[in-house]
Symmetry: C2
Subunit: 342 residues, 2 copies
Amino acid sequence: MQKQPTIRDVAQAAGVSVAVVSRVLNPGSGPVAAATRSRVNDVMKTLGYHPRTAARELKFGPPTTLGLLLADVSNPFFARLADQVVQEAHARGIQVLLMTTQEDDQLESERLATLIERRVSGIIATPTGNNLAIWKQLQDLGTEVVFVDRSIPSLPEVDVVSIDNFESARSATALLAAHGHRRIGIISGPAASTTGRDRIAGYRQALETAGLEQDELLIRHAAFRGPAGGDAASALLNIEEPPTALVVANTAQVTEVLRRLSHAGIDIPGTLSVIVFDDSPWTELMTPALTIVRQPIDLLARHSVQLALSNTQGKRSGKPNVIRVAAELVERSSVARLQFSK
Amino acid sequence: MQKQPTIRDVAQAAGVSVAVVSRVLNPGSGPVAAATRSRVNDVMKTLGYHPRTAARELKFGPPTTLGLLLADVSNPFFARLADQVVQEAHARGIQVLLMTTQEDDQLESERLATLIERRVSGIIATPTGNNLAIWKQLQDLGTEVVFVDRSIPSLPEVDVVSIDNFESARSATALLAAHGHRRIGIISGPAASTTGRDRIAGYRQALETAGLEQDELLIRHAAFRGPAGGDAASALLNIEEPPTALVVANTAQVTEVLRRLSHAGIDIPGTLSVIVFDDSPWTELMTPALTIVRQPIDLLARHSVQLALSNTQGKRSGKPNVIRVAAELVERSSVARLQFSK
DNA sequence: AAAATAAGTGGAACCGGTACACTTTTATGT
DNA sequence: ACATAAAAGTGTACCGGTTCCACTTATTTT
């Protein structure tokens, strides 16, 4: 465990001033003779010198770190989002500080405090929906905030990148209606979440277009965490006139719902057709292969990173960017055509 | 976009010196009158002051950041590991810088360079197996390095946390043998990886104990990324005397293998019994429910974080910590008992 | 009541880089 | 050759915290 050499050690060993070493470190910041440059480089190598990021950051709040604040990473959707964000960021030489909220606004506020102290240049987040004041403060501080997947309606000035939740739920529901289903259930996210609400709205629109009756018993909001999805599924199965088709629009609860259906001995798609919002490779391996709504995670990630880094300064003038990317409905075998419905 | 207040702004507004403000910021670093303290706190609040981590870090390389260097996060195993590591770290007030290597040693070395410059206090990594010199350098610099899941045999002085790969593959194979299988195939990780090798070794041991012949044709190493697993599965199916049972010991390739088996019209467990190393919730939902080897990811995470933070100083004396946690074999329905084998 | 001790505060050096203003060396033009 | 411009290199003040030390003002001890 040796003590770390500093730029002054390098300067001394190379027989030059620290300014020259700094120039070698930052090409383009000033002229250095080729011979000197290589000599300094040699010294740095033999001394095992590495400039300290912390010292650099002190001068200017450098756009070299991004905060990624997700609900959790065990959810494959967020995991893949994190993976893509990290890759995108690395491609731009940016590092990612990963944090999770567990959907807990108290934890969220703590994480945000840390991110403020670190003076990250941007934050990509799936907000819990609270902590309005902190989000506002962050923007005032000049931190670029991008909400991904969800948003907070009362913070309209924040950039948002998400899929078109309304349209994706609408088209999934429309597909079921087109297959003759008249009792279509939906399990979505919490009513407080934009994704939860927008998807329900799309669902309602599809029913209306298809001329189907809207039954509030068929609409369930489930929390993102815990067994909420399974409970919602059970509840749905036990109503007087149970659905013949189900849209699972809460990605975090897909496996919970399927587990419950399986335990209940439900035949898919025989007694219940299913469409899920989830693009896990496993969905294709199920029996039957599940019809899914696929979210273009790579696009979400790319746009998020881009926004989080673009607005580095200025530009906070105009209206916020709202990017909606289209989700893809992938038809497989979990939706049955109802013959005798009329 | 206001400009950020500094400690001097706070001091001036509160009518005290910066030293006092600093003491308020770091309780226990010196005496402050209660009245002064609350006055300073008020000023900090109204000014919206947040101390800059970068400035703090300049004084001492503070153990406030951990590097987490994984192959990728789209793999659910690593995703859940990342999730747990982040939670463990947060519980200790530590932040996590997430990086991915894509199993590419060039990328790995770049990420490591960044981590050195950031002076992180510890690194938890799934090493590609190269960059020996850099890993050594990191240790010399006093950075605590912990390999998780895999290790590098030629770096025996690095701490390692993993499951008992040998034993878990042995017991899975033994289970198959006990069910009467005599032709048991295995698809593991690359021969260059410790997990790949150790699991094969456990497999061989089980065969030997069961008195079964070892056929090299039944042993396949597959890369962690790409279609390698699927290809290995196809190859295995097409040998002269194909296996009646298969251990998929390469977690990253499980879905690839299953996809190939499915496309080939293989009946599980009718014509092929299967045990996979993967604890995804989906494995239970498959038809049939898959028998799995479950890795205790929370334990891996907890021990890794603990080691990465414990050795902060001193202690580099003794021999490295090697922690092996037991994996759990969860029997479900993808293994058939062979009746007529003799 | 004098001396010793403790509490509260301020001044300034320092951490390790960056960058500006400036001096010295080398190259260029006629 | 000589003036002049460009290139190379140096000194040093920052950035925003922390901390050591000196100093002043209470509080306690005997």
